[in-house]
Each structure stands twice: as structure tokens, then as C-alpha cells.
Symmetry: C2
Subunit: 506 residues, 2 copies
Amino acid sequence: MSEVLSTDPRTGATTGTGIKQHTPAEVDEAATRARAAFNDLATRDRAWRTRLLRAMADELDERRSEIVRTADAETGLGEARLNGELTRTCFQLRLFADTVAEGSYLEATIDHAGETEVGPRPDLRRMLIPLGPVVVFGASNFPLAFSVPGGDTAAALAAGCPVIVKAHQSHPRTAELCGSALAAAAKALGAPDGIIAVVYGREAGARLVQHPEVTAVGFTGSRGGGRALLDLINQRPDPIPFYGELSGINPLVVTEEAAAERGAEIGTGLAGSFTLGAGQFCTKPGLAFVPRTDAGDRLLESLSEAVTASGAQVLLNKNIWESFASGADYLSSLSGVTGVSSGAAGEGNGFTAQVRLLSIDATAVDDRVVDECFGPLLLAVRYSGREELLGALARLEPSLTATVHLGEEEAASSRELLDELRELSGRLVVDGYPTGVAVAWAQHHGGPWPATNAVHTSVGPTAIRRFLRPYAWQNAPAAVLPPELRDEPAAIPRRVDGVLTLPATG
Amino acid sequence: MSEVLSTDPRTGATTGTGIKQHTPAEVDEAATRARAAFNDLATRDRAWRTRLLRAMADELDERRSEIVRTADAETGLGEARLNGELTRTCFQLRLFADTVAEGSYLEATIDHAGETEVGPRPDLRRMLIPLGPVVVFGASNFPLAFSVPGGDTAAALAAGCPVIVKAHQSHPRTAELCGSALAAAAKALGAPDGIIAVVYGREAGARLVQHPEVTAVGFTGSRGGGRALLDLINQRPDPIPFYGELSGINPLVVTEEAAAERGAEIGTGLAGSFTLGAGQFCTKPGLAFVPRTDAGDRLLESLSEAVTASGAQVLLNKNIWESFASGADYLSSLSGVTGVSSGAAGEGNGFTAQVRLLSIDATAVDDRVVDECFGPLLLAVRYSGREELLGALARLEPSLTATVHLGEEEAASSRELLDELRELSGRLVVDGYPTGVAVAWAQHHGGPWPATNAVHTSVGPTAIRRFLRPYAWQNAPAAVLPPELRDEPAAIPRRVDGVLTLPATG
């Protein structure tokens, strides 16, 4: 098979990596090892798994400088950002360790045998158990937070599922380094070989999602890529869960009052948000609804000034660079769309792009302009009055996020607008910006299609739910039950005979 | 459009119903009304929804005698069973009312703004919100518990989702009566028109699952039917969640020790289980693994005696009747399969069938015999030793249930067998029978494909999760938040700054 290449997006220079794309036989072997690892993991307790997750975080921290340097050379994202990304990933691994220890994610439930109004009920006990081997597709735009290490991998391992990551071709060396770190941490704890693996090559990925031993797939990437994987999964004799985090235009609305109160400030903030990471965030605001008022004009001016002052942006890889150029050109060429301003142009052979700010009238918003343009481009939508705003919003597809900037006294009187934004998103941001997805219990990173195809988040502790399935034991003696479901007091929250109970403290 | 016909399975006699199959325009209208109802429901609180669910249970109870009589004429299931089924459905509606009132299903979570080790975190609040209009496909075999009223309908309404039920053609009058009862209860509480609707016709069902206003589909039925719906959904531009409860062979294992201790008793119990409801339960044990020992022979004798003494069974409809006949003939004709005994043959023009008991050697178990045969047929699998048993089990697909009868001292020493059964099922029944699915918090009715295609149950309070999606509010003022997420003390369990807290009592 052909060698995997590594490209520096700042220069376009390509070098060999010594890594080969996986053959079908190697893919099958990885899947078989993952199944064996799954059976082994079933014999280990939650305490062991918390140690595993913490050890993985420690090992990534240990190898931080090499990982960050390598990721910077392959993505051009800069060491500051990549250090932050790795810190986030380690934090997330440790938060999942806490989640496993706390145990409420098990949804442990005991219904003792007894009479009910509909007759006798047997003893029933239920909790969530791991699905089996999981395949994770690394994302180009977060080499350390949604790739070999990251939310999907951490959630699946926390659940008790071995993980095979299909490395993104955009950062193969980074994937290899991170995979080695995770594997070393696992090995030191006596984990089975197949608990974590990294495979390379598009065909290897396609083979994996159709492999009989694979029980779920996590994906962060483009709508087209996600749809292709979903179609492959639906060709399986046994369709398995697919968790795709796909795309979105992430509308941001500024009301007339908000523009009047703090238009210039919002313009500057918005510029920072849509150019963060060169506009390569799945939560990048792509459409900004700005009132056609004097205050709205001033907002647009401050936004435009920030754009004009912005330097050239390095995009992640050649595909994204070409797509961005053609996407930006297409949008600019549409009737009704006007260019407002651009940042500095890039030089040299790297994948550099200008920041772009375009404008359109709300009444002209239609299918042509509502698809995500991945990269540092923002389309300002000028609207006159609430009705025109709501009309344009109604023509959008759902996104991961929707943002609204409200006037100070407006919250209670904006019900209709907020209802519309709720149907369009999975997270509502008020008076802020959608980029930056905190890892927290209350986070939700998801939304109706095409944001995702799932009713679960891919960020935060509840992301673990995607890799678990319920299991019920009926009339089982204690020796057959997992410790969490036996009658003795437990150190985890449980629902016993219908009542949610917390573990005794102190 | 053509009139829907009603058939008495005891006689085969068919009569008109006056009900017409729905036209495409009528289907679209139902979907539009459901969307309007969804918007209306969003303005009502949980207390109103608990009243709605209880009123629906009361109204079904009120109309019990007419509903049961009509269902009996259309299904031949008998009034005792149908009365029990309706009681179960009313119990379930009231249990969902309690679930909505208790509120833990919301997964309400508050993370206050603050510093974390990875930087400042905004105020984030999350809970589950309803998906939107839901389509439910009625099942032939539970006209009152998995049809117009039943688990999917109750769960979706509890979540806050309007429901459109595609009535099963096997019991159209029953569907109409039940739909009218639910609608009357809703109307008396001032609910919007579109909160519950019943549509008729296969094409209407296909149109519904592809309708843009529909956001999720619940289905209980055959694997082929479920797969066809899933394929339709995957053709949507926006694939929506499909919750299919499909099929299963539900293996039942009797160990050598269990057979030695109580073989005759197990034989009788097994006969009762596989002929319950004329074998038309999705949890019917279809394969019984019986040791090839003297005790195993005695078990089979007692089973066979019960089969010989059994009367003719009335099947639900002509399709099932024909499928059962051809399925039973096919299995009987296979090399390696021998007939053990049969029950009485039916007379007249009704859809009657003989109870059938067949036998096969464990070493001969393969793809030919592992598919569900819907109806009163059991295949006994004779095995010699644990290895032969495990080998045969490894050739099965997953089911909703797996059952094991263990000897008194065997629980602790059966790990390998129990592990195999766990991968094959969603519920393990010990020393009992899988038919009879208690509505309880600890129930799980699901399993890996082809049992279902979901990681959620379709029975019990947690079934509500299927019709909800998470939503997060970032930096939202109290006026924008739902009452459950405001800072004041709440009457529901919540996770606040990472800690699960229960409402104050007393």
C-alpha cells in the first residue's frame, strides 16, 4: 500500500512519514484485536477504567512538546492554540474518569419483585453496558481534541469500549504520536493490546464501518463525508449507531436594540469569532443578521475594520483551501451578494487565504447561501424588522448553535425569535459567540440534522451515553449481577423501586 | 381511496368499516396539524402534560368494554388477555405521568460561570426538550399495548411530542375507537387538534416517515417491515431517528443441572410461554437448548405432552397465518429437523394453526433455523456439553431476550455462558420465561440488531428518552430559561456544578 504523506500547510511542502495505509487484512486484524480487548475490558471494574483515563491524560501531558510541535507543523494552527487544545483533551479525559467514578451514567435501577396494580412483577435490574468496539474518525480541524485523542475516544473508552481511530490524512504524524501515547499509558496498566489502535487510509475507514466486529461509529467532519459513512452503515446487514457531527451555518442574530446599545463592540467580537482558528470551527458563525439601521451600519463598520486589519490565514490542507476559495468565489458571484471587505492576501506556496466579509439582504436569503463555507468567511444579512428576520431564519437548516444578541430589556419580549432559534439549533448563545465549546456537564454539542444525526451530544460527560446500551437482568441471583446492581448499599446514584437515591456521604 | 376492511380471524369473515385509507393530501394535513400542535404544546407546562396522560388513561378505562369487544373480534386474542393489555396500557400512561412529574428524565443540568483549569467557563444550562411530531406504527400483535395506545404513543406524548399513529390494517376499528378516546381526553383538556391522529393505509405510512414535519418514528413489527421503513428514512435529506423493535429468536437455555433438578416443571412452563398469545409475542422463546441427557429427555417429554394437549390457536390475520404455515413447513422439511409433537388442528375458515414442537441437534444449528417463526412453534436444540452449547449460541443473532435455567449452585460458575447470552440480548431472564414484559423503571425492551436498531428501550419510563434531544443555553438570562433551569430551588433532580442533587423533601 502507498505511504502516507505529511504536508506543512504554511509552505505546501510534502514529506514522507514512513506510515503505510492499512491493508484490508490489517484492518480486520485491528477489529479482531478490538473485540478481544472488549472481552478483556468486561472483566475490569470502573476503578481500573478511571486509572486508565487519567494515565492517558498524564502520558499526553508528558509528551506535550513533541505532540504540539508536530501538530503545528501539520496544521499551521499555532502552538498557543494547540497547547490549549491538548490541555482541553487532558481535562476531558480526567473529567470522564470522574464521570466513571461517580457512576450516575450507569442509570443503575433496581425494581424488587412485588405486587403491582397490573399483577406481580419479577425482580428487574437495569444498567447501561458498553456496546463493543467503536470506530472514531479523526477531524482535520481539531488534531488533538476531535481526533486520535478527543471527545469520541475519551467517551468510548470511558464507556468500556475499545477504540479504533481512522486517522485524518491531514495530520498523520500527530495521529501516530498521540496513538502511541495512549497505547503506552494503556500498556503500563496491563490493558489488552487492542484497546486503542490507529489506522490510515480512506479504504481502511470504509472497511471498518462495515466490519462485523464494530458496534458504533463516531465522526466529526463534513456533511458529505458523514452522509457517505451513514450510507455505508445502512448497507450493513446490522445497521449500527452512527454519531455524526457534521456541519452548520450557526446563525447569529443582533437585534435592533442590541446594535443600538453596543454595535461596535459586537462587530469586533464577531470578527474574532468567525476568524478563530482561521474560521475552521464547526461552530463558526457563518451568517450574521444585522439590522438595517444606523446602529447596524456602525456594527458592520467595526466588523469590516477588523476584517481589513486581519492577516492572511493558513488553512489546514489543500482540500479545505481549494474548497474555501471556490466557495467564497461562488458566494461573491451571486446576485444580491456584495463584498464588504477582505483581509490581507497570503504569499508563497502555503494554503493561505484572505478573510472575507460579504453582505446580502434578508429577503434574498435562500438555498444558495445557507450552506457552511468552511474557513474565514462571514455573510452579513441585513434585515428590516422582526418579520423579515424571522422569514429569513425560517429558510435555514438547523445548526449546532444559534446566537442572539439582545438589548438589555429584551429577553422577556423575544419569545418568538427564541422559539425559532431553538428549532434551528442545539445550543443557544446569548450575548456571546458560539466558537469555544466548554467541556462541561451542561454542554450540548449537537442539534437536528445536518448539525448531527443523533439525539446525543458529542462534547461533555453525557457523550458517554452514545457508546452504551441498556441491559436488564430479570430474577438474577446476586452472583450473576454486576456489583452496582446488588442489594447492598452502593457508592453510586441508583433508582430503587422507582425512587432516585444518592449514595450516603460522609 | 379504498375502504379499510375488518376481518374476524376466528371465521375469516370480512366486513367494511366505513374508514377510508388516507390520501396524500390528508397525510400532509395531519403532519401540518401535528406541527402546529407541537408549537402549542411548547407553551404548556409539565403539570398539564401529566393531566393529559392521566385523562387519556381514564378515557380508555371508560370505554373499556367497547374497545375490548372490538379488539377481540378483530384479533381473536380473547377478552381476558385484551382486558389485561388495556390495563397495562392505562398503567403505563399513568406511570409516564408520574415520570413527567418527577422530572429526572429532563436531565436538568446547571453549570454556573466560573474559572476552570482550562480557563473561564460561561454559564451553561442543559435539559432535554421534545423532538417534534412523532409517527408511531401500530403492531398487529398488541392492539392495545403497542398500537394507537401503547408504549411509543405514551412515551412521545409524555416527552411533549404530538403523535400520528399509522393504524395496523389488522385491527382498524380498534384503532379508530382508541384514537377517538385519546382525542376526546385531549380535547376536554383544551389540547390542540393535532396532538393525536390516526391514519390508515400503507402508502400513508410511507409518506409520513418521509414527511419534513416528522421528526422521529417508532415501530414495532417484523424485521422486513422495519428495514423497509429505515431505508425510506435514510432517503430523506434529513435522516431522522428510527426506533424499530423488530424481531428475535429469544434463545432459552436449560443447563444439565437445571434439567436434572426440575426438568418436567421447565417443560410445562416453556410450553405455556411459547404458546402465550398463540406464540405471537416478540419475546416468544423460539429456540430452547435442552441437554441431551435423561433429564433433558424428561423435560422434552413434559413439553411434548403439553403441546399434544394444546388446542388450535387463532392467529391474528391471514398474512401471519400463511407465514406461520409456510415457516413451520419449511423448518420441518429441513434435514436434521424432526417433528416431536403437535397440538390439535383447527377447523372452519378461521386463521387457526396447530401448536408445533420440533427438534434439532445443536451441531446442526445454522442460518436456516435461527430466524423468528412468528406463531406457536418451538425448536428444541439438543446439546451435549457446554462447548457444543456455546458453539451453537455463537451462531445466533441478537434477540430482545435470552433466558437461562440454572441449577441451584450454578450461578457463580456460569460466567462464560452468561457473557455469551449478554452479547446476544437486551434482557437476561434467569429461571423464568421471557414472555411478559413488565412496565417498570428497570425494564429494558431492546437489544442489538435485529432486536432493535437503537440504544434505548421501548418499554418503561426511560423509553421517553427516544423522543427528546438535549438543548443548552449559554449565558441566558432567567427570562429566557425554562423554569426547570432557573437558579431558584427546583422540585426535580438536577445536576448543579457537577453534583447531582435531589429536590428537598418534607
